[in-house]
């Protein structure tokens, strides 16, 4: 079966720092893949290159066999790759529902209307349905500035989901969420994302989350892939334990 995402020989340097060193990776449809690695290992750089925010120095990225080349984040989003952010990137003066409404406008891939109300009932229903999947329907009309960090994370992910992407990249979906709420938050995310996103890639530092929710783990170290396989294999790999998890688990 053809991979959803195919990455070949991806390289990226920032001066003397090697952020991506000949990365080669295939992601199959329906996989739930976790990217792990210490800070600076190259996980977010990988996500930024796949989504078009950073241009690789060399190498190729293909989605469903289509070369992403040097496309912009906008074009990459239109082709079916969405992402959420480590620090939620929201429109904080707008309400949660309005944030979703902007995402719905983007997903329509049509010229923005000068006159159709942004909060028309059908559009509002779609936004509230999506927020409801994350258990957030009751905060639909509250400005983002009034919402807690964990809730903002979920709204951020809900916005990425509006497009029904082929590939959803989640950058540290539980960072900033309290230890007691991490599993509940991740349960909500997995439950909400399941009907739409065929393939999920999530960057994560918490190995308990990785072990519980990933069915494949890719460990990064100094811009290269240190290990790639099933969670138990990777998390028990001596090199991964030495350079990435520091003996955690």
């Amino acid at each position: 079966m053809n991979p959803v995402l195919s990455v070949r020989g991806l390289e990226k340097r920032f001066g003397a720092v090697v952020a991506a060193d000949a990365l080669t990776l295939d992601l199959a449809a329906g996989q739930r893949v976790s990217l792990i690695g210490a800070n600076g290992a190259g996980k977010t750089t990988f996500v930024n290159m796949v989504t078009g925010y950073l241009k690789p120095d060399s190498g190729a990225i293909a989605l469903d066999g289509m070369d992403l080349g040097r496309r912009s984040p906008r074009d990459v989003a239109k082709l079916g790759i969405s992402r959420s952010f480590q620090i939620p990137q929201l429109f904080i003066e707008l309400t949660a529902c309005e944030n979703l409404s902007v995402a719905i406008s983007g997903a329509r891939d049509q010229t923005l209307s000068f006159h159709a109300p942004a909060q028309a009932q059908g559009r509002r229903d779609t936004a509230i349905e999506l927020l409801g999947r994350f258990g957030l329907a009751d905060v639909a009309d509250r400005p983002i500035s009034e919402l807690a960090g964990g809730v903002r994370k979920l709204v951020d992910i809900a916005m990425a989901l509006v497009r029904r992407p082929k590939l959803l990249l989640l950058d540290e979906p539980t960072s900033g969420v309290s230890a007691e709420e991490k599993f509940a938050t991740m349960d909500r995310v997995i439950h909400a994302v399941a009907p739409d996103a065929a393939t999920i890639v999530f960057v994560e530092h918490d190995m308990d989350i990785v072990g519980r929710y990933a069915d494949r783990v890719v460990a990064f170290y100094s811009g290269r892939i240190l290990a790639d396989g099933k969670p138990n294999e990777v998390l028990n790999d001596p090199e991964v334990r030495r350079y990435v998890t520091g003996g955690a688990r």
């Binding site: 906008r74 904080i92 707008l94 406008s105 000068f114 509002r124 400005p143 497009r163």
Partner: protein
């Protein structure tokens, strides 16, 4: 979800405001015409400000509209006020279409300074162009309306008042619909986080360009009104102090309410007229104190008096126009 007045009600209010001119004293007609004309261009600045960008050079399009109308009027004899407004709007819009896509790539102070620089380039060019009268400019004939020529001063003033109020009112209704629309919401999103807008599949540059062109159309139409009111045009139309006055109105109004733009424009004209009348040597001081008072006590503009604030009460105050990026 906030709901405003229905467009039909707004049209009724515009017609009522135009007819109200019949009972207004003559001296207020020209003042209200200037206020409506300034409100139109300031409305464009507010439309643009919703994307987080402020133009300090709307005089560019104001002059383009004014000069375009004056040249066409003098060469082809078109004197109809409505046609002249349309010509002014088209001239401003066409120039906006040329400049908008180039300037939309910039944000913040760079955007503002570029608009200012371009307006001053036009000012310099007009100053040196003797065919357009150089620094003296040139005169145009009295405007007419649907074939009617107004020789009586009061009737001519009322005609101009009515056309400016109706045009600015219709522009205000269009802006109200725009603010509530998909494009209006996306504009606010660009103002807060243009990178996320791109990640959602929307073009932030295109959204800024569209708003920029709308602002240019309004400025061009406003230039036509200024021309009709003065029956004279000169390079001062493009000068930076002219642009600055329009920004003043927009700052006073804030970006949340269309009605606030009209209130702010009228208030500024009244303060200017009365302070000029009673304090001829210190009227600028009075105007400055007025502006400072509004900025101090209503940092989000006059519109914040009746538009609910989206911010928490303990959030730091943000200025009416220039706040943009999400923290």
């Amino acid at each position: 979800m906030r709901r405003g007045l229905h467009p039909v009600v707004m049209i009724g209010l515009v017609i009522a405001a135009a007819l109200f001119g019949r009972v207004l004293p003559t001296w207020t007609l020209s003042l209200a015409t200037v206020a409506a004309s300034n409100a139109l261009i300031a409305l464009g600045i507010v439309v643009l400000a919703r994307t987080g960008n402020v133009s300090f050079g709307q005089g560019l399009f104001f002059a383009a509209g004014g000069y375009g109308v004056a040249l066409i009027a003098n060469s082809s004899g078109i004197t109809d006020a409505v046609l002249q407004v349309l010509i002014g709007a088209i001239c401003g819009g066409l120039l906006g279409l040329v400049i908008g896509p180039l300037i939309a790539r910039y944000t913040g102070i760079f955007f503002g300074m570029l608009t200012l620089a371009l307006s001053m380039v036009l000012y310099g060019a007009l100053l040196k162009t003797s065919a357009l009268g150089g620094s003296d400019g040139f005169n145009v004939g009295r405007p007419s309306l649907f074939g009617m020529v107004f020789t009586d001063t009061r009737e001519a003033d009322f005609m101009l008042y009515a056309v400016s109020v109706v045009t600015t009112g219709l522009a205000g209704i269009a802006a109200t619909i725009l603010f509530r629309s998909e494009l209006g919401l996306a504009s606010l999103a660009v103002r807060e986080n243009n990178l996320r807008v791109e990640y959602l599949g929307l073009s932030a540059n295109r959204i800024v360009t569209i708003n920029f062109v709308i602002a240019a159309v309004f400025a061009g139409a406003s230039g036509a009104f200024a021309l009709m009111a003065q029956r004279h045009i000169d390079p001062q139309f493009a000068y930076w102090t002219t642009s600055g006055e329009f920004v003043f109105v927009a700052v006073l109004a804030g970006y949340q309410s269309v009605a606030a733009v009209f209130v702010a424009s009228m208030a500024l004209e009244l303060v200017r007229s009365f302070s000029n009348l009673y304090l001829p040597n210190t009227w600028q001081l009075v105007l400055g104190v007025f502006l400072l008072s509004v900025i101090l006590f209503l940092p989000r503009g006059i519109g914040s008096l009746w538009i609910r604030d989206r911010h928490r009460k303990n959030d730091p105050p943000r200025t009416a126009i220039t706040d943009g990026a999400a923290p």
